[in-house]
């Protein structure tokens, strides 16, 4: 009996110890990310400006992600039209398919889906690149050459994320609406004038802006999380793999959580 109590106490202690360690690690990560963000923004505003690095990262985050967001956005718009048509038809509101697609894309799906897709593509690549640079001492080499690694590596990536996520969201919204239109009008037979007219009537500028505001935060989250995990990578090739996985998982969760928080503020 005494042994059972001892074992239970040991398991509880181990569990509490792990919980405590995780909590400390979380607080440490949040602290390091905040400091990294502060330094990255401060250094980005300090001459000499590394515009070439920023443009290179904008091309990587934005232009190279175009194909994946076009694909995601168009199919999401198409499936949304298909599903909402089935539901709205039940109470004779087929004309609302257009606004449903447009509002869903602009306020929610455009920023969230493009955010998640770019996190998977560019966020993981960023964490891997920085992690490899860390374990092969390339980041240390930068510092020994009197080049600030945060200014050289982190600031351009964070700025690129903040600039390009809203652009990618606009593209996702646009192709989503086009996809919805093609399915709604060409496939399901909704009148084209009604579809466009209803959409224009019910979609407001603030709907688009609320989505763009979200995407700005998602861009910051994705790049900052990727840079954090990459920059502080330890443990060789295994560590680089872990950094990539952790950055995608953490950024994706943070995008979904912050989406709810931002939505509740904007509602």
């Amino acid at each position: 009996m005494k042994n059972i109590f001892n074992n239970k106490a040991r398991i509880t202690n181990a569990y509490l110890e792990k919980l405590g360690k995780d909590a400390v690690a979380l607080i440490k990560a949040v602290g390091l990310m905040s400091l990294m963000l502060g330094s990255a923004l401060k250094l980005a505003a300090t001459p000499p400006f590394k515009l070439k690095n920023v443009f290179k990262q904008m091309e990587f985050v934005g232009v190279q992600s175009l194909f994946v967001v076009v694909l995601t956005g168009s199919f999401t718009g198409m499936v949304l039209a298909l599903q909402s048509f089935t539901a709205l038809k039940r109470f004779g509101a087929e004309s609302m398919v257009g606004p449903t697609v447009a509002l869903s894309m602009a306020r929610e799906l455009g920023p969230v889906l493009s955010g998640l897709m770019v996190t998977g593509r560019a966020g993981s690549a960023m964490a891997t690149e920085l992690g490899t640079m860390r374990v092969t001492e390339q980041i240390d080499a930068l510092a020994t050459m009197a080049v600030n690694p945060v200014k050289h590596l982190i600031s351009p990536r964070v700025l690129a994320g903040i600039c390009m996520f809203p652009v990618l969201t606009i593209v996702t919204d646009f192709v989503g609406v086009i996809g919805g239109y093609l399915v709604g009008v060409r496939l399901l037979g909704i009148n084209s004038g009604v579809y466009i007219g209803r959409t224009v009537d019910l979609l407001h500028v603030q709907d688009i802006f609320s989505g763009l505001t979200k995407s700005l935060f998602f861009g910051l989250i994705t790049t900052l999380v990727a840079c954090h995990y990459g920059y502080y990578t330890t443990g060789g090739a295994e560590g680089v793999g872990k950094a990539a996985t952790n950055s995608v998982v953490t950024a994706s969760v943070l995008i979904l959580v912050s989406d709810y928080i931002l939505s509740s503020f904007m509602a």
Binding site: T136, E137, Q138, D140, A141, A143, T144, M145, A146, N148
Partner: protein
């Protein structure tokens, strides 16, 4: 002159440096030897400010390196060059871009002028026509040479070498030793190397210092070290498994 005084550093409670003291003469080649994991890399990372000590200080002439703020430390780093163990070349850049990187960052030279200096430095380390190659296409020895060219491209006063012969065959190690001697003689620079390659150290060193359990336990010229009867030093220099240093 660089003076290391009572340098202490621990990681997660494990003492790596435990009051290391060393004087490094200007214009000479100093080799710090010691077993793997004894803190040699940690010691040179302190010299260039990549790590901050828990206690102790490092003086470069009249300047206390360990007390500098980030901006002053960056200025001080311009007096250094460093060759990393794996050369730490930037994967995404060509050889010329790698070697010319410090010049691009810290001077207003045009790319043509930078390229001229890059070619000259590459020739000094025995490389010709490799400017447009990518680091992935270079052999281990070539990477070290490119790394050295990058380390000396700004004509620094002090060059640090982290295990320059690790991963190289004996012939290539000897060739790196010749390269170290040639460039040091030509540039009259202070070279600080860490190594556990004894023949290499004997060939190049003006002074050898042995780091053991966080302290410099012996130092002197090659002749003095060969004559030193410290049992720990003897075991290490002779490469014996038996002796006061326990093998785990």
């Amino acid at each position: 002159m660089i003076k290391i005084e009572g340098l202490k550093k621990s990681f997660n409670g494990k003492k790596v440096l435990d009051g290391a003291d060393l004087e490094i003469e200007k214009g000479k080649i100093t080799v710090i030897i010691g077993r793997s994991g004894e803190g040699k890399s940690v010691l040179i990372k302190h010299i260039i400010g990549l790590l901050k000590p828990d206690d102790g200080r490092i003086m470069l002439d009249e300047q206390e390196l360990t007390a500098l703020n980030d901006a002053d430390l960056n200025e001080a780093r311009k007096r250094f060059g460093m060759l990393f163990q794996g050369a730490a070349l930037f994967d995404s850049m060509t050889v010329a871009e790698n070697v010319g990187f410090p010049l691009k960052e810290h001077t207003s030279l045009s790319w043509e002028e930078i390229l001229k200096t890059v070619t000259e430095k590459l020739q000094r380390v025995g490389l010709v026509g490799v400017e447009d190659m990518m680091p992935a296409d270079l052999s281990g020895g070539m990477k070290k040479r490119v790394g050295l060219a990058r380390a000396i491209v700004m004509d620094p006063e002090i060059v640090l070498f982290d295990e320059p012969t690790t991963g190289l065959d004996p012939i290539m190690s000897d060739s790196v030793a010749d390269l170290v001697l040639d460039t040091q003689k030509a540039l009259n620079t202070t070279y600080i190397l860490i190594s556990h390659d004894i023949p290499f150290s004997y060939k190049i060193a003006d002074k050898i210092a042995m780091l053991h359990e966080g302290k410099i336990i012996a130092e002197g010229t090659v002749k003095q070290m060969k004559e030193n009867q410290n049992p720990i030093l003897r075991q290490f220099l002779e490469g014996r498994a038996e002796g006061p240093i326990k093998v785990y």
